[in-house]
Symmetry: C2
Subunit: 298 residues, 2 copies
């Protein structure tokens, strides 16, 4: 993979990227002030507005080391309630996640999953037991129980911000990618929370849970690679210490998904991965969003 | 710690943060375009300029799982050369780091350390062997060999951006914190790469390598906590999956450094941490920036 990456970049990177370096930028003092103030709650400042109704995303990326899972915290800190959601929380790190929510003065409203995980137990069940007002969210296609069963094209609103639901099956039959909204008052660049569909320089396995390599290939190409190239890719896992990528980077350097469909299917067929060690515990628990012992509200 | 955090936040968070939510923000279409274009190479968009001489920071956070070390990549992508530097690279992840540098079309000029690490071998030596034009950088006070031995108050320029060197001894006698520049054409908010001096909700141990709890307490309070509260804190390590904090958060919630000096000294004295398992290998190697077998150029 490293060789491919270097070879491709040798011929394309400089040419593709060099021309973007010399565009003058003007920031108003009021914007600089605003960035300075709100950035005390943001890892990255994603803000845009073309009206006095401004929205402001707070964003934090959190890591669970044992399963190499990323959990994402998003909140609209321009809304008086500071409503927040967690994407792909892990059972073992719920206390950490809730303490950050509390430290930052946020109101957690949704605990969401991109899919039924096979490698760890979701934190949504424990979160709901600690904060009963939180709603669990997963796709209807996952066959899971949850408070909200979402479908492709739906919008999940938190304050004046929203996530768009895109169906990206192939790793599992119910995988979705959550993409920040498209619009003048939504974060720029857009951010795609791809779960295990698209990983940084990789992708999820396709040999369990209704997986299909052809379906995953088509999902990524039609629902993720069609986003603007500057769209930030935030996956559910990374095993090599990468924290973020972009659609543009993955379209150039992903060692699997840059191949043609037949080559990709052959790569996925010959991965020879071991049986997922947590699958027999994690999947039954995650099919009820981590709530093994009670029936979810919806 | 969690209890303290929750207790403090219960009384202070809402009041402190709620008032920042309703300031309208206006972005010009040209700025939105610029953010969209350049953000394809940035994890977080830190941009500001009050003249046509604009600077633009590319930023990536990278993680080495075995030693829980964060390596940071920074570059000025508004400069034709796209000059870049790495802070605290690890020997085991040099190939990964150099592949990202190449994928993004950057020219690596500096491989820097915040201090002489005791828990892993720095990647600077291997980086120099693969890219001989790269200069290794560490503080003069560290007693190490390197191409550039920097002192407090010095500025390290990369393109039109720079890092300011602040002495923050106490974990080791030679620890420094690198802070992004202060000025209209430098990133807003500022970013502090604190090494092991200030960790997220913690700090480095003070019982080896000329460490001193009193000195570390004074370093953090006088050189880091005096930065604007929105300044982003990027430490050399995190063991619980946090990726970033802010000066404002740590001044409110750091369970050690929010205490008075005597309480802090007592906490540090009674940590009873094990002997660092890598120290006898890492420190001798890191005193020559990872170049055990050759004499650095300077």
């Amino acid at each position: 993979m490293m060789m491919l990456t270097k070879l491709v970049s040798l011929f394309s990177t400089k040419n593709k990227f060099a021309s973007l370096s010399s565009i003058p930028l003007f920031l108003s003092p009021s914007l600089i002030t605003r960035l300075q103030m709100e950035s005390s709650y943001t890892a990255s400042s994603h803000s845009s507005s073309s009206s006095s109704q401004s929205s402001k995303l707070l964003f934090r990326q959190l890591f669970e080391k044992e399963s190499s899972t990323y959990t994402y915290l998003l909140a609209d800190v321009s809304h008086p309630d500071r409503p927040a959601l967690l994407i792909d929380p892990v059972d073992k790190t719920v206390d950490r996640d809730l303490s950050v929510v509390q430290d930052l003065g946020l109101k957690l409203i949704y605990a969401m999953n991109t899919h039924v995980h096979a490698d760890h137990v979701t934190g949504t069940g424990i979160i709901k037991s600690k904060v009963p007002s939180v709603k669990s969210v997963i796709s209807k296609a996952s066959g899971s129980k949850a408070d909200m069963l979402i479908e492709p094209g739906e919008k999940i609103h938190f304050g004046n911000l929203f996530l768009e639901v895109r169906a990206t099956p192939g790793h599992t039959l119910g995988c979705v990618t959550y993409v920040t909204g498209d619009g003048p008052d939504q974060p720029q660049p857009r951010m795609a929370f791809t779960g295990d569909a698209l990983l940084i320089r990789g992708c999820g396995r396709t040999d369990f849970q209704g997986g299909s390599s052809e379906q995953l290939y088509n999902s990524v190409h039609s629902k993720i690679f069609t986003l603007p190239k500057e769209t930030l890719i935030y996956p559910a896992h990374d095993y090599r210490g990468f924290t973020v990528s972009t659609v543009g980077e993955e379209k150039l350097y992903n060692p699997r998904l840059t191949k043609d469909l037949e080559t990709y299917k052959s790569i996925m067929k010959n991965l020879n991965l071991p049986y997922p060690k947590m699958i027999d515990i994690a999947v039954p628990a995650n099919l009820v969003c981590g709530l093994q012992d009670e029936t979810p509200k919806a």
